[in-house]
């Protein structure tokens, strides 16, 4: 930020960064966020490409006037809601306990 961090803050940041806990937090965060990003991007691009280049497939009727294109589109909504929910659950259960602990450590060391 604009204000430079103090030596005390700097040392605390460095210590947390080197800690086992932080390595675990980063591993858990990236382990979820990165593969999931790749997954939903591929899934979305597949849909965009199918919309342009797989017309016959998209036009296949499923029930009544409901065709594959509509179902595929609605599945993008479902997957978005699902991934959002999964991430929230992962963050609440796996990330927040560690980050809360590390933040409390920081606060107690820096304000001392």
């Amino acid at each position: 930020m604009v204000e430079q961090t103090t030596t005390q803050q700097h040392e605390t940041y460095e210590r947390i960064h080197a800690s086992e806990d932080f390595a675990e937090l980063r591993r858990r965060y990236r382990g979820f966020a990165f593969p999931m990003t790749v997954a939903f991007m591929v899934w979305y691009l597949l849909y965009v490409l199918a919309s342009s280049w797989a017309n016959d497939f998209m036009a296949t009727q499923v029930v009544g006037n409901i065709n594959v294109a509509l179902v595929f589109g609605l599945l993008q909504f479902v997957s978005t809601f699902l991934i959002a929910w999964l991430y929230a659950r992962h963050a609440n259960q796996k990330l927040d306990p560690i980050s809360d602990r590390l933040r409390a450590e920081y606060d107690s060391e820096v304000s001392r």
Partner: protein, 554 residues
Amino acid sequence: MSAIDNVVLSADTSHQPLTTTLFVLVVLATLAITVWAGRQTKTATDYYAGGRSFTGVQNGFAVAGDYMSAASFLGISGAIALTGYDGFLYSIGFLVAWLVALLLVAELLRNSGRYTMADQLAFRMRQRPVRTAASVSTVVVSIFYLLAQMVGAGALVSLLLAVEGDAAKNLTIVAVGALMIFYVTVGGMKGTTWVQIVKAVLLMSGTILITVLVLAKFNFNISDMLGGAAENSGAGQAFLEPGLKYGVDTTAKIDFLSLGLALVLGTAGLPHILIRFYTVPTAKQARSSVLWAISLIGSFYLMTLVLGFGAAALLSDGAYGQVADSDGNLASPLLAEEVGGGPGSNGGAILLALIAAVAFATILAVVAGLTLTSASSVAHDIYANVIRRGKATERDEVQVARGAAIAIGAVAILLAIPAQDLNIAFLVALAFAVAASANVPALLYNLFWKRFNTRGALWSIYGGLSSAVILVFFSPVVSGKVDPATGENLALFPASVDFQWFPLENPGIVSIPLGFLFGFIGTITARDRTAEEKYDELEVRALTGAGAEKAVSH
């Protein structure tokens, strides 16, 4: 992003007094909120970030209110009403994009920034150059978006109030501009946020009401509604399949892919969305904001599907013709009139007026958010940190922000008035493309790549920004595009000027990789030890919130 200019309406005007009354109510309510919020705005954090005291739910509604512009409300339902399934393609990109914001950006940005997009870069880079770059990009994206909204507002409001003529449109633009300047200068982030929350509630309620009424007409049988739409549109089953609008030839298909990329990546780089994450006290609340926003935006786009196909199925030939004349923008209002009991009925007049007022509130909330974003960046990045090198007082900084809001609002009004006669609908797509090509590479590199440095940040921002703008400048939307059927000029420049060589209307497929590439090359050709050392701090702060900005307690 359909064009909303040059529209002439000849609807019956029985709803007009009611519509006008509702418009006045919207204006009075938002002005009251603004004055109230202004009284509670004391510090810079209040002005820029609403004191960081909004809850996740409140901010989720505000994010949704900031994001769902008139282009999505009237534009997408209209596009579905006219081109069927292809109109729906937009909404999917607009929604999936929120996963990028949720998984990679919102929480980390909340923890590592303060007021603007630039803060997060300035954490470990050389302040002045990166703030200048980020501010340039913020203002460019916001002005493009703002201009499209303002021009749309002129056409829409005169359409909805059924007044005709250039004078009425100009007056509307000036009035909308004056209102947005008032919201931003007086109410700051607190006022703007509440205006957006109110708008989101109005928009969702109005949309739910019309959706239920439309579905009731078909006994909640979606297949029947789709069948009716296919039949009534005259296009048959093709109306329910992709390709009616974008499937003309290979260029059009690649163009659509290019648009899809810009939509899905651009959202997480829109400055007016990013700064909303600073209005909550913790990263956890930022996460909850995005979850709420995803629920609201997702359900909203699902309902636009019903509005669009419902309009195609239910509107009479005459009304359908009016929708086509308005480039789709009248689809929702006229559908509201239809399900309320049809033209001439009281129910129809009431619902039409209601939806028109919702559209008006939508315009106001979005332009206010954009103006605030640009003004914040000019004051906090350029004035306080580049010019005064961090020595400005909070008071001065907020004064400058208010002045900047007036200046930006004035510029937007002055540009929007002559722009009404031009084809500028491409500006919204361009804003998304610039955000995806310039801002997103810089943000992601900064958060996840230790080696990233000042030169990399400058190259990705300036490189991505200029790639997108230059490619669009030489694209068909700027020159050399005529309607093959009517011969009408569809480009920004007159038909006699043609310097187009880039075949796509959407630059994203080229400019987004370029933005990432520039950032990469810039980074590996320079070494910046400080930036690398500070990365450890940034990472701890971003992931844990240790040392992050706190909420203001009054």
